[in-house]
């Protein structure tokens, strides 16, 4: 059984999408969207990160479920770190 080999076209396509995302995030930062500015910036960054993980890091094509589980676990615990920390800092009414 041989591994998946992506086409040059796909790699260049992903690269173009990442470049477009970079331009988009710079342009979006110049527009006043109020509290949505950081949301849009992080949404674009996450989209770019997902493209890199799935296609450049070949996670989309791996048959090994354990690898995918490890990645999802890492993201889950990272979000716990951020979530519970901010649950504390944003609810300190006495400061």
């Amino acid at each position: 059984m041989s591994e998946h080999i992506s086409s040059v076209k796909l790699y260049v396509g992903i690269w173009l999408a990442l470049m477009a995302g970079t331009m988009l995030t710079v342009l979006a930062a110049g527009v006043d969207m109020g509290p949505l500015n950081p949301v849009v910036a992080l949404a674009i960054a996450t989209t770019k990160a997902v493209l890199v993980v799935l296609f450049f890091m070949h996670v989309k094509y791996t048959h090994e479920k354990l690898t995918k589980m490890v990645i999802v676990t890492a993201i889950f615990f990272f979000l716990i770190l951020l979530g519970l920390t901010m649950a504390d800092y944003t609810s300190r009414l006495w400061t």
């Binding site: 260049v12 690269w15 990442l18 710079v26 890199v52 070949h58 090994e64 990272f78 920390t85």
Partner: protein, 236 residues
């Protein structure tokens, strides 16, 4: 996971000298190496994660000062560096692909291109650091001073201590990222040498694949650092 392969496949696979005897198939060996690399990368996620968390807490607490400090960074260089790093990720992906399809000479070319882009990134980072030293924006130095006021509050001057926290995080996060880039360039110099020697091809390219995973990970860290550090409240 794989069940035991047909005898013919196994016999064929064992012709590959890179296949270690405790793996049944090449795919199993590749998956094991890839899983190990990903486990290392999740420790890296938690390592950088701590700094991202500290950043989030202080940005939440001192938003105005962080916005003022963020806008003092040079957006032009930050954007160029993002483009440089994304380009290097493409060359890495292409180098791995060339190994898969057996274009051995092209592997070396793409790896050298990756190193050139990596060094360019570090050079631009150096220019930016130099600017920050020239502008007295380095936390802890006696002359630290960030001019100006909190965005949209012309009457509130920048709190110098809060601005120093921003720059502490800026130098810690981009500095750790740059250290990873330096290690990456060293790693890729080694991979280039081995590829030049003809070590990697369709039958064996695990170090190339795993080195690539490391490089892409460092790219992803920057993908988040760029908007978080450079693009806070740029619109005025």
């Amino acid at each position: 996971m794989h069940t035991s392969p047909p005898a013919t496949v196994e016999a064929e696979a064992h012709e590959n000298p890179a296949l270690l005897h405790h793996f049944a198939t090449e795919e199993q060996q590749r998956n094991a190496a890839s899983l190990g690399m990903w486990v290392f990368l999740i420790t890296e996620i938690m390592f950088f994660g701590g700094m991202f968390c500290a950043y989030l807490v202080y940005r939440y607490s001192y938003f105005g000062d962080f916005a003022a400090a963020s806008s003092s960074l040079d957006l032009k260089w930050g954007t160029i560096n993002t483009i440089v790093l994304i380009g290097s990720s493409l060359t890495v992906a292409m180098a791995v692909r060339c190994a898969q399809v057996g274009k051995l000479k092209a592997i070396v070319g793409f790896l050298i291109a990756t190193i050139v882009l990596g060094v360019a990134f570090l050079g631009i980072k150096g220019i930016e650091y130099k600017q920050k030293f020239d502008e007295n924006h380095v936390p802890g130095l006696a002359g630290f001073h960030l001019e100006g006021h909190v965005p949209r509050h012309a009457d509130i001057p920048v709190n110098q201590q809060h601005a120093q926290i921003y720059f502490s995080l800026y130098f810690a996060m981009t500095g750790m990222h740059a250290l990873h880039m330096i290690i990456g360039v060293g790693l890729f110099a080694y991979l280039t040498w081995k590829a030049y020697k003809g070590r990697y091809g369709p039958g064996y390219y695990t170090p190339l694949e795993n080195g690539g995973l490391y490089w892409h990970f460092v790219d992803i860290v920057w993908i988040y650092l760029f908007p978080l550090l450079y693009l806070i409240d740029r619109h005025r």
